[in-house]
């Protein structure tokens, strides 16, 4: 061997495969402003559309007069529900089995609802036109408080299903009721509560918030009359699903629809569903024969497209006096706004809320969810979480703290006592899931040691004494959270969207020189797929990640996939990538055997190629095999080297983690200070530790925002009072705490590479950690639960209500 022969380590390193902190390849263009977003697209003759929106939360639309608007220079058309009715598109189906008005049809049901669509030669003219459309409204009484929606005399919001006693998910019990969804054994659970030594009951509200990606929702639609083809560039997290939905509702053959998601500036669940803007832009393009662009502004994004949460969870836990949990009972009042436009798998109207038993061994549980209509924007999307998993994690993690307080036990100790034990996996939960793997005790103990949990509790005790003596006005809280997520939707046996199973897909094509392209059914919105997908392939087939181009988002070229949300990309698409790579490798092995003139079984894999067992110098690199695939394949074999895999996962994956937040609160102003936040995540096999860290940082920042102030709030008349980034809390780098990250690795036993998904864990686990810290800080003053968000004035109000300012 001469000195130039690379060592094994060098060959490994060159691949930048799994486990490597490979720098994000997409950042080269993003950091230079060279990304290609929807709004960068300018087509010849392109028109611009914008909405007239309702100032009222509930009103009858008496008339719409477009006469003056059509006189504004540049305004070409004003589309209303009447126009849309001619093409049967005044209403559209939602992913949740409901229907939604595209444009106000007879009435409006939430503030900023789309009323008319003005199409003009530029965006300014469109807005000038909007101001000239005269809409006559007759205001109606509003329903804002979800707890009043099902009062007998509550105003009727939706007139279209009036009198229908059953909806997409079973019986309706009131005119503002959408569905009731129940799961678990009610009798067994009731019995557990009767027998319990200790029970707790608390209504835990998870307020309405919004995913608020920095790039808002937008599209360009271009209808080619001659070819009969519709092209749609849009900010879609699930481009294939959008294409199928368009084919179904617009009656255009699916192969004549081209949906393209270019670079996306954040999605967080906001860009899964279909919005009136897409339909109107498509119709406007069909009507005018020109491409039409629609771009939401910030206010429209916050107030009209897809809120998240708004779950009001009456939570009960039964336990023995030693602190062993024996039953869980939750009733959820789910505020869906004006239309049920949740983006859940079709059979799951409350998403995977039944993960609510969390990390604990509950012998029995029962959940009932009532979905209701109110005069608020539609949505209910999974904001950086799998479907309703954040709500569930908040419910159980607050619940466990409340139980600990009632038992006089330390909340960490209570959790350790009730964890599902490592030997219980695969674990069948009381609410029907099969947890694939986990080692909760190890993770929890590592967290406790890393932060010196015992020391922090001592410090807190001292701080409380000092507070009582009047030496400080600060109180200290420790927020523990131990979450189990359910991600990777999902197995065809229980997950579909509009009848399409939630598989995902990958197609790999290796070129003669040893470089290749991988096309995947997922769609990155910032997750770094171009980087990590190549790393999986690099390790699987021994080609440097740099030599693999990853392409997503074009429905003409990518294999059908269900898109990216619910942390499903690595569990599902990531698996498809590994499986496709393995098909490549299997063919490569046959080619190598032929070229090396040995039997296939005599070959073994070695980093970046095959070698003959026992003859380590007889090798053929993957790069050389690629070349051979195009000129000297074994007789009878087709040339070329490509493979496709559609992966239907056998199960979900169950990432988990142990988080702790250390917080001080100044009772005089309510101002908090996050002193420390430690997050230990177990997402199984780690593909790129640096990207994981980045995902955790981002998710924790959103969790921080949500818990500490980020909300969509309505006043009593149904006006949104938090409709801009001045009032909707979007933390900057200044407010964002320092994050300490850590990990354990418990690979998923059923996933080809053992990976579980991590993008959403920090949001799921983070929110309860923050809220528990606030609640823990106040608990010694006699409170059991303070609702989120914990912004300054509400912290002050809590202090005041607990008598801190009493003379």
């Amino acid at each position: 061997m001469n000195d130039m022969t690379p060592t094994r380590e060098q060959r490994e390193a060159k691949l930048e495969g799994m486990g490597c902190k490979r720098k994000r390849v997409e950042d080269i263009r993003f950091t230079q402003g060279k990304g290609n977003y929807v709004d960068d697209l300018k087509l010849p003759g392109m028109l611009h559309g914008d909405f007239v929106r309702s100032p009222h939360a509930h009103a009858r639309v008496k008339s719409i007069n477009s006469e003056e608007a059509l006189k504004v220079p540049g305004v070409l058309a004003v589309i209303t529900a009447e126009t849309l009715k001619t093409v049967n598109l005044a209403w559209m189906p939602t992913l949740a089995g409901d229907v939604q008005m595209v444009l106000a049809d007879g009435k409006v049901l939430f503030q900023n609802q789309e009323v008319a669509f003005v199409v003009a030669t530029d965006r300014y003219a469109a807005d000038d036109g909007i101001n000239k459309v005269v809409v006559e409204y007759e205001p109606l009484p509003v329903v804002i408080d979800p707890f009043k929606a099902m009062d007998p005399d509550a105003p009727v919001l939706r007139e279209d299903p009036a009198g229908k006693t059953s909806g997409a998910h079973g019986p309706r019990k009131h005119h503002n009721h959408v569905f009731e969804w129940t799961i678990g054994d009610k009798d067994l659970t009731d019995a557990a509560f009767k027998k319990a030594d200790v029970t707790i009951k608390e209504m835990l509200s998870y307020h309405r918030t919004h995913p608020s990606p920095l790039e808002t929702c937008q599209c360009v639609c271009s209808f080619d009359k001659i070819r009969g083809e519709l092209s749609i560039w849009g900010t879609f997290q699930a481009p294939h699903v959008i294409r199928t939905v368009v084919a179904l509702i617009a009656k255009i053959p699916e192969h004549k629809i081209h949906v393209i998601s270019p670079d996306i500036g954040g999605g967080f669940g906001n860009k899964v569903g279909a919005y009136p803007g897409y339909i109107c832009a498509a119709v406007a393009s069909i009507v005018t024969g020109k491409p039409v662009k629609w771009v939401e502004d910030r206010i429209e994004n916050l107030t009209a497209t897809s809120f998240a949460r708004d779950y009001h969870m009456t939570t009960e836990i039964a336990a023995t006096k030693e602190g062993k949990v024996t039953g869980l009972r939750v009733h959820v009042l789910a505020d869906h706004g004006a239309f049920d436009a949740c983006a859940d798998p079709s059979k799951w109207p409350a998403g995977f809320f039944n993960i609510v038993t969390g990390s604990y061994d509950f012998p029995t549980a029962h959940v009932a969810v009532d979905g209701i209509y109110t005069n608020k924007a539609p949505g209910g999307v999974a904001y950086r979480c799998s479907f309703r998993v954040t709500e569930a994690a908040y419910c159980i993690e607050r619940g466990m703290d409340i139980l600990a307080q009632k038992l006089g036990m330390d909340p960490a100790e209570l959790r350790l006592k009730n964890f599902i034990k490592p030997e219980q996996f695969p674990y069948h939960s009381a609410l029907g899931w099969e947890y694939d793997s986990g080692d909760y005790h190890t993770a929890m103990k590592k967290m406790m040691e890393s932060v010196d949990y015992a020391g922090l509790r001592k410090e807190q005790a001292a701080q409380r004494e000092a507070f009582k003596r009047g030496e400080t006005r600060e109180i200290m809280g420790l927020g523990v959270s131990f979450f189990t997520e359910i991600v990777g939707a999902g197995p065809s046996k229980n997950c579909d969207i509009l009848g399409i199973a939630m598989f995902d897909s990958c197609e790999i094509r290796m070129h003669p020189t040893g470089a290749g392209i991988a096309r995947v059914g997922s769609k990155s919105q910032g997750q770094g797929h171009e980087t990590t997908w190549a790393q999986i392939i690099a390790t699987e087939i021994g080609i440097p990640a740099d030599d693999i181009m990853v392409e997503e988002g074009n429905t003409d070229t990518a294999p059908y996939g269900l898109g990216t949300y619910g942390s499903r990309s690595t569990p599902v698409a990531g698996a498809a990538i590994a499986m496709a790579a393995r098909k490549i490798k299997a063919k490569a092995q046959m080619i190598a055997a032929y070229k090396l003139e040995v039997h296939e079984g005599d070959l073994e894999w070695d980093i970046d190629g095959f070698r003959v067992k026992g003859l380590p110098e007889k090798t053929m690199s993957m790069k050389d095999i690629c070349w051979a695939a195009y000129n000297s394949v074994p007789p009878g074999m087709e040339p070329g080297l490509e493979a496709v895999s559609y992966y239907d996962p056998p199960n979900m994956t169950y990432p988990f983690g142990a988080y702790i937040c250390v917080m001080n609160i100044d009772v005089d102003t309510g101002v908090y200070r996050i002193r420390r936040f430690y997050a230990l995540d177990d997402c199984g096999t780690r593909i790129n530790p640096m990207i994981i860290e980045g995902q955790v940082h981002g998710g924790l920042t959103e969790a921080f925002a949500i818990a500490m102030g980020q909300e969509i709030r309505y006043d009593d008349e149904g006006n949104v009072v938090t409709g801009s980034f001045m009032d909707f809390f979007m933390p900057t780098a200044v407010e964002t705490p320092h994050w300490e990250t850590d990990f354990t690795v418990t690979p998923s036993p059923h996933h080809p590479i053992g990976a579980k998904g991590v993008g959403e864990s920090p949001n799921v686990g983070g929110v309860p950690a923050f809220s528990n810290a606030v609640n823990d800080a106040f608990s010694f003053l006699g409170s059991t639960h303070i609702q989120m968000p914990h912004d300054y004035w509400r912290n002050w109000r809590a202090a005041k209500e607990l008598g801190v300012f009493a003379a």
């Binding site: 914008d50 101001n131 102003t669 101002v671 102030g709 980034f725 001045m726 004035w793 002050w796």
Partner: protein, 287 residues
Amino acid sequence: MIPGPFSYHRPASVADAVKLLSTLGDEARPLAGGHSLVPMMKLRLATPEHLVDLHGIAGLKGIRRDGHKIVIGAMTTQHELLASDEIRQSLPILHETALLIADPQVRYRGTIGGNVANGDPGNDMPALMLVLGAFYRLEGPGGGRDIAASDFYQGAYFTALEPGEILTSISIPAGAAGHGYAYEKLKRKVGDYATAAAAVVLTMAGGKVATCAIGLTNLHETPLLATDAAKAVIGTSLDDATLGKAAAAAVAIMAPAADARGPVEYRKHVGGIMVTRALTRAAARAS
């Protein structure tokens, strides 16, 4: 968030600007940094037909010393205030406050003239101007005049500016030797206006407060001078009881609006706390 139509003018002198404003009438507005006006235009809460951009007027920029006074051109940006040694030495509270305004991007564009002329109760500079005893120089169709900052603010977005007038400079007496100062601002995040803020400038003699002025931001429809609160601390060593009295006197004149920053009661409560904190910090700085 798309503004309505307007036409744009860029005069080269104060006289031209005044002429334009008076001939174009009510529908014309001066444009400085645009960081208050343009957001309002994008929401179509302001729909001026004409913008008269003051950036082309050379004489409106700069910071100079004129005897005991510091004279600041209206078009001086908040960033330029921060970069000025003169301000840091003679009016350190101005430096401290400018740093608490919005973020660097806003401060590169936003001007002190626009900030004080805007009449937004949320702006930080006006209360400071009251405390510092500033005078504004106004030029209008009828000539120039000087007006005390304390006479300038009449209501939210309602000031003593007459039609056609522009504010050209601000003159402020240099801070007394050894004075103490503090601007305490409670805000939810960078880029937010004050939930409540208090400006204090004081001098101490023999451990007791000799002179004191207290200003309040965003606690009323105009900036306020808390005169009774300031009186309450004169001659004291700012013991807890005095601080309590001063805060109570200040709270008594506050009338903030309830908004997403909190209910009225909260904003007044923290307004009082900002006063005590500013007093304490200012006293510690005085020599």
